[in-house]
């Protein structure tokens, strides 16, 4: 599965107080990625709204070459999903909502559903601002799955485009893989040795993946690996927060069954307490 570059971006916007910041962010991103940008508003089209939006757009310092504006009616989630399919969008951009009186950011139900149903990759923007905050440190998951190669490539691509300095590939290893219950000194030693072994294996695996990525994408970016023994999906989020990463890149969730929706898994931990901006890379099963 080759990675398809992000060339067509879509931002679904609402007229909220953070609209201006969001617009500035997405236009900046599009120009970095050298991509075309589509704005969609789900709701009625009025002259007032259109004027308001155009005013904001004019203030943007870097406007990408192709900008389109659509107005659609209907259910937000389904309409956005449809228009993504229609226009063959590569990357869907969403803003996070700030919970009143709590500084934590969370995703409303619309955004959550979109991350599940979107046919393309999704970028969740945590803290949009008018001025640019450089994206210095990217954390990307190295989970053992066919999707991961594309995800890592996407991370490098974005890193290059945004001129990041550092990239960390995190392999989350489930504790059960160690399979040694630590109860006394002997079992502790056994567990520690087992972990060292798994650490080496994981590192080799991830380094292998990176080797397969064309050199020019990797050059210039300082990249390292880090294994974490912990719950998948949760550990990487906590890690991203601890190292104060600017962007977290994850695999999209595999087809989740009805039952899986009830038990928080992987992405749910991240979505519940957004540590950073999150890019969820959708893999393409067909070339």
């Amino acid at each position: 599965m080759a990675f398809k570059a992000f060339k067509k971006l879509l931002f679904g916007f609402a007229f909220s107080p953070s609209l201006k910041a969001n617009v500035f962010e997405v236009t900046r991103l599009a120009s970095f990625l050298d991509a075309s940008l589509v704005f969609v508003h789900i709701g009625s089209k009025t002259d007032e709204k259109e004027q308001q939006f155009q005013n904001i757009l004019e203030e943007c310092p870097d406007i990408p070459p192709n900008v389109e504006l659509f107005w659609r009616q209907g259910k937000p989630v389904d309409s956005l999903v449809n228009i993504c399919k229609e226009l063959d969008i590569d990357l869907l951009l969403l803003g996070a909502l700030k919970r009143e009186k709590m500084v934590k950011f969370y995703l409303g139900s619309i955004a959550r559903q979109l991350t599940r149903k979107a046919p393309c990759s999704v970028l969740l923007m945590l803290n949009p601002s008018i001025d640019r905050h450089p994206c210095k440190h990217i954390v990307v998951n190295g989970f053992d799955s066919p999707q991961t190669k594309e995800t890592i490539e996407a991370a490098f691509e974005v890193g290059q485009a945004l001129k990041s300095e550092k990239l960390t590939l995190v392999e989350e290893v489930s504790e059960s893989r160690v399979a040694v219950a630590v109860s006394d000194d002997r079992s502790l030693r056994k567990a520690t040795l087992r972990k060292e072994k798994i650490n080496r294996e994981e590192k080799l695996r991830v380094v292998d993946i990176v080797k397969k990525i064309p050199d020019q994408k990797v050059q210039g970016l300082n990249w390292t690996t880090q294994s974490i023994f912990g719950r998948r999906g949760y550990s990487i989020g906590h890690y991203a927060r601890v190292v104060r990463a600017d962007l977290l890149v994850m695999n999209a969730q595999e087809e989740s069954s009805f039952l899986q929706r009830f038990f928080p898994k992987d992405l749910e931990h991240i979505l519940a307490e957004l540590p950073t901006d999150v890019l969820i890379v959708q893999s393409h099963k067909d070339e």
């Binding site: 520690t192 890690y239 931990h269």
Partner: protein, 739 residues
């Protein structure tokens, strides 16, 4: 003191463990008898529990230096069980309780299999202390009257407490002689730790009072040719045929709610007491091994089942006896076995003598035990951590006293949680995050450090999550725990973190906590609850220096050294000395430091033993680094104690050419060849001609200790001049060797 591993070494260490097993049995005998009688069970029931514990746990257990037997905390539970389950008939109640003991043994075994050893972390530390204090008061209340010879006081704990002044005033009217012996025994038990004679301390205090009381009986019989003035109803009775009349446990009430409640209480208290004891004894293990708690629970369960079928009380890990084991050289589980063997020998061969022990003396031992559990110092210590902790303590104590054990601890847990809510004023923090994972741990590749980050909140409710991660870090490594993302950290966690710091520094690792600086605490105590709030700057009042401190400061100025009067909770570099192997260092204070940092003199507060055998000691030490590496050795004065150790297998390196030195000093160490090379005639003469100090080498530095108390200024000067001469002699020797 050899450190070799393997079967040969275990064989070699058998004499040591035999010795320590013997000393433990000296304290286990009176305790076993007393605990059984206090629970209204036959006296032998306690001994049976100790024997079952010693045999079964030494074979199947997972810890190394613990001793198993009847537990202090269980007296209250078993007493309630025996008196109520039989509907008034004590013997019937005893038979039902045996069945309960067997079932609780099964439960314990199952807990061990399910790896629920981590459960102990769920109990908030202060609430547990309150519960244990309530148990202590319960024991004390009942046994106080018996100690004075009055057996007629009944009612619940509060009634019994109220009746104490009455009993005290009137006891002479009942059984004056026995009561007086009991009371004097209690006084002796309190004064025991103040007497610093090493010969005296070879025999544990409970054994002293027992032996003396038996002696009094013999004195009357043999010397005065009179009947002993101790009333026969106040003497212990042991049945004649021990092995034929085993009681049969009665399982008929297994469906009864009361019965099930008893089983649950016994299991709960057994788990709490055992887990707390195992944790505490791990801190005293000279070989710094980590115990397999779940394996121990399984062994304790098995032992309880065996004990129940034989008519004994249930088996838990006991801390006082374990600490006596460690202090007397116990190194592996055979000590537990030997203690059981000696108990059997005592009962079989000394049965007659045992029956001359007055109940009042045993009651005195129990009153002392109860006092140690409930000492007011505990409340003061808890208050120093934070006023809300004192409140939790008192609430749990009161609710346990007025209701039952289980209700008491449940109220304690709920109240602790309410206090947390009140302190953090943030119920959302807890409700949203209680089931979420909140700990991240990874190994930093460049530094080799284990980095742990904790989010949201960390209290007794979710400490087990943090513990599960921390337990996976080898204690020889460097661990950093970061609480910056955590909004609330409670006292149980702070104490647990402190335990980790201790065990890491004992094994040569490093355990750091960061991120707590931005948290405010009610008090400056290291265990106080931390919450993120604007920091209140607390201006502490600087305590004025004492006279001794002033003179130490003057001396430091005189010789151009630095003087630091401040308390240091975590003095480094001392754990490698053998002296502290089975002791816990509390703090260092009043340190004098030479500018080039090679010499330092300081006072140290440390404790030996645990619980009722705990002794808090203070002494002044001198520490200096040496230029060239030395073999590891300990030089002690030769006296009765070290002679006994020799019999128990601790080698003394003797010099046939220097009989005076060999006679007066006890020199030990692993590398006898290197030690003999080090001890040249000049060095031997030096030691022979100078005042005696306890000297140890850990290879790179020497530690010198004077008396078993703080040294006066003059003594410090003597110690310093001694050390400087020694240093000169050693460097001179080093130069000679190089030439």
């Amino acid at each position: 003191m050899s450190n070799k591993t393997g079967f040969a070494a275990s064989l070699k260490s058998l004499p040591k463990n035999l010795f320590s097993g013997f000393v433990v049995s000296l304290i286990a005998l009176p305790l076993g008898l007393g605990l059984a009688i206090a629970s209204e069970a036959p006296p032998l029931a306690g001994i049976i529990a100790a024997v079952a514990g010693g045999v079964v746990v030494s074979i199947f257990g997972g810890s190394h230096v613990t001793i198993a037997g009847p537990g202090n905390g269980l007296v209250i539970v078993l007493l309630a069980a025996i008196t109520t389950l039989g509907g008034g008939n004590l013997f019937e109640g005893y038979l039902y309780t045996l069945a309960a003991i067997i079932l609780s043994g099964v439960l314990l075994f199952v807990f061990g299999i399910l790896r629920l050893g981590a459960m102990s972390e769920f109990f908030p530390a202060t609430a547990l202390q309150g519960m244990l204090a309530a148990i202590g008061i319960g024991i004390l209340a009942k046994q106080f009257h018996i100690m004075l010879g009055i057996r007629s006081v009944s009612g619940d704990t509060i009634d019994q407490l109220m009746a104490i002044p009455d009993s005290f005033l009137n006891f002479l009217a009942f059984h004056p002689f026995s009561g007086l012996i009991g009371f004097l025994s209690l006084v002796f038990l309190f004064l025991y730790s103040k007497i610093r004679n090493p010969y005296f301390h070879l025999i544990p205090a409970p054994m002293w009072v027992v032996v003396v009381s038996i002696g009094i009986g013999y004195y009357y019989n043999l010397v005065l040719k009179q009947a002993t003035p101790i009333d026969p109803e106040l003497l212990i009775k042991i049945p004649d045929q021990l092995f034929t009349n085993l009681p049969r446990p009665n399982f008929n009430k297994w469906y009864d709610l009361d019965f099930l409640g008893v089983v649950l209480s016994i299991t709960l208290v057994a788990i709490i007491e055992s887990l707390l004891s195992i944790k505490a004894v791990d801190k005293l293990d000279p070989k710094k091994r980590r115990s397999n708690v779940n394996k121990d629970l399984r062994a304790l369960g098995l032992a309880s089942i065996v004990s129940g079928f034989l008519g004994g009380l249930n088996v838990v890990t006991v801390i006082a006896r374990s600490s006596v084991n460690v202090n007397n050289g116990g190194t592996n589980r055979s000590a537990n076995f030997f203690h059981a063997a000696f108990l059997v020998l005592f009962v079989v061969f000394l049965g007659d003598q045992i029956q001359r022990i007055p109940l009042t003396v045993l009651a005195a031992i129990l009153v002392f035990t109860g006092y140690r559990l409930a000492t007011p110092e505990n409340l003061l210590r808890v208050y120093k951590i934070g006023p809300e902790q004192a409140l939790i303590f008192v609430v749990t104590l009161a609710s346990t006293l007025f209701t039952s054990l289980i209700t008491g601890i449940v109220i304690g847990i709920v109240f602790t949680f309410i206090v947390h809510l009140f302190l953090s004023k943030n119920i959302i923090l807890f409700s949203l995050n209680i089931f979420k994972p909140n700990v991240l741990m990874y190994l930093e590749e460049q530094s080799g450090n284990y980095y742990v980050s904790v989010k949201n909140f960390c209290t007794f409710l979710n400490f087990y999550k943090l513990k599960a991660k921390l337990d996976q870090v080898p204690e020889t490594e460097h661990a950093i725990v970061d609480f910056s993302l955590c909004d609330f950290v409670d006292h149980t966690v702070m104490e647990g973190i402190h335990d980790y710091q201790r065990s890491f520094s004992r094994k040569g690792g490093n355990f750091e906590t960061i991120g707590l600086d931005i948290h405010a605490a009610e008090t400056q105590h290291p265990f106080a609850v931390r919450k993120t709030l604007p920091i209140n700057v607390l201006l502490g009042l600087q305590n004025a220096l004492s006279n001794r401190q002033k003179s130490l400061e003057g001396f430091a100025n005189q010789i151009g050294w630095e003087y630091n009067p401040e308390l240091n909770n975590n003095p480094e570099g001392l754990d490698t000395f053998l002296f502290f192997e089975s002791k816990v260092i509390n703090y260092r204070i009043n340190s004098l430091l030479k500018p080039d940092k090679t010499f330092s003199v300081f006072d140290l507060s440390f404790s030996e033993g645990a619980f009722i055998t705990k002794e808090d000691l203070k002494a002044t030490f001198l520490f200096f680094k040496v230029n060239q590496p030395l073999p590891v050795f300990v030089l002690d004065k030769e006296d009765l104690k070290t002679t006994l150790y020799q019999w128990a297998g601790f080698d003394d390196i003797n010099f046939t050419k220097y009989p005076d030195f060999s006679k007066r000093f006890h020199l030990s160490g692993n590398d006898s060849k290197a030690i003999r090379k080090l001890f040249t005639p000049e060095l031997i003469y030096f030691f022979e001609s100078h005042p005696f100090f306890h000297i140890e080498s850990n290879g790179r530095a020497l530690l010198i200790k004077g008396k078993d108390r703080l040294s006066s200024l003059q003594e410090v000067k003597m110690m310093l001049s001694f050390a400087e001469d020694l240093h000169l002699l050693l460097s001179h020797r080093g130069k000679k060797v190089q030439e």
